[in-house]
Amino acid sequence: MVEKNIIQGWDVNQMAQKVALDIPDGSYVNLGIGIPEKVAAFVPEGRELIYHTENGLLGMGPAPAPGEEDPELINAGKKAVTAIPGACYFHHADSFTMIRGKHIDVCVLGALQVAENGDLANWSTGEPDAIPAVGGAMDLVAGVKTIYVITKHNTKTGESKIVKRCSYPLTGKAVVNRIYTNLAILDVTDQGLQVKEMAPGVSFEYLQAVTEATLIL
């Protein structure tokens, strides 16, 4: 898709803020590695969210001050974190009981591709020499009640990440509830992808032109 005027839309922080505003007070939340981690910085004052990290901590706090890192207190991305007062540690079977047993309310994940029926591909490009590595992604999408995807609308080469059918290997089938991109917020519905909000300067015609999947206004 060649567009003469490429619209940048929201920046990553604005996207993260959009996600943060949609997470209800009191939710148990799992934030994926990378951009999803930014969501925590934008939770409105007065809302209390409890962060789960699948390596075994409920009540994850922010990164520690430099020099205060503890190699045995890390998140799923293996980065140093802190534990808030009221936090608890547990083993992996309990951690994934929380996930698979539908006890976690919201999970925010990145994506390689999302299809219009909510299929998600985010763990492998399927290249023959790639070393497969899945981590907890398949468990999260299978078990968490609400799955939000946060991603750039298009790849660096301009291809749509919001597709009719994923060409990459799936992480889960029909698992995504809502997609936050730099151009729009899209709800996965029984009828298809419903546009909930568009970034400033984005028209429906433009959005559809840069999106492989069919959109509903």
Partner: protein, 237 residues
């Protein structure tokens, strides 16, 4: 008298045999029993199947065991991490097998192994390539895939404190796979930073009951993997 405390890591791993399946605790470096792994490298057992979430980093601990060609097969969820080069190189050359398992499925397969449950159904991976050729079944309109339990000949686990009965507590997120691995191996070998007298761990706070533990070794100042990697250390030194 029951006393599971042995005098050295060397003694604790002496009978690990060629072809054994070994569970190794840890999520990245957190909870990785480096000193026990190094003792296993010194001991020489080979053709091992290793069950561990990752494949180690640098050329110490699990990565060093792999670098020494002792590992025939890895069962793990995430074989690539920062500073993890040993496994990817051998894998690309076809010199090591890999069974990739979603992290929660890996945990549950280990838990099932320790709990006497041969297999179970899970929603994780349904509709993905990791469910290919696996038996599936529908319950209440939802499709689940069958996964088999994993059991091991040995487990090498790092904990924080132990008493002579083998009761354990762990340190923060270093707990990860330790408690379930302790239950799923015929011989569970623990390295701990602190030994305490019986009663030194509040019974309300015991995480792994001693019945799941066969051997305990006291490693007073365990090495920190990321520090060794940053210093370019290689085992054996």
């Amino acid at each position: 008298m029951i006393n599971k405390i042995l005098s050295s890591a060397e003694e604790a791993v002496h009978d690990i045999f060629d072809g054994a399946t070994i569970m190794i605790s840890g999520f990245g470096e957190a909870g990785s029993p480096i000193e026990l792994i190094h003792a296993l490298i010194d001991q020489g057992a080979k053709n091992l199947t290793i069950v561990s979430n990752n494949t180690g980093s640098g050329e110490v601990g699990l990565a060093a065991l792999i670098a020494h060609k002792r590992v025939k097969k890895m069962i793990c969820s995430f074989p690539r991490t920062a500073n993890s080069t040993v496994f990817p190189e051998l894998f690309k050359k076809g010199e090591i097998e890999l069974e990739i398992v979603p992290q929660g499925t890996l945990a549950e397969r280990i838990r099932a192994g320790g709990a006497g449950i041969p297999a179970f159904y899970t929603p994780t991976s349904v509709g993905t390539p990791l469910a290919d050729h696996k038996e599936s079944r529908t319950f209440d309109g939802i499709t689940y895939v069958m996964e088999h339990a994993i059991k091991a000949d040995f487990a090498l686990v790092k904990a924080l404190k132990a008493d002579r009965y083998g009761n354990l507590i762990y340190n923060k997120t270093a707990r990860n796979f330790g408690p379930i691995m302790c239950t799923a191996a015929k011989t569970t070998i623990i390295q701990v930073e602190y030994l305490v007298n019986l009663g030194g761990i509040d019974p309300e706070c015991v995480v792994t009951p001693g019945i799941f533990v066969q051997r305990v070794v006291h490693i007073e100042n365990p090495a920190q993997e990321s520090k060794l990697v940053a210093e370019n250390r290689r085992y054996p030194w």
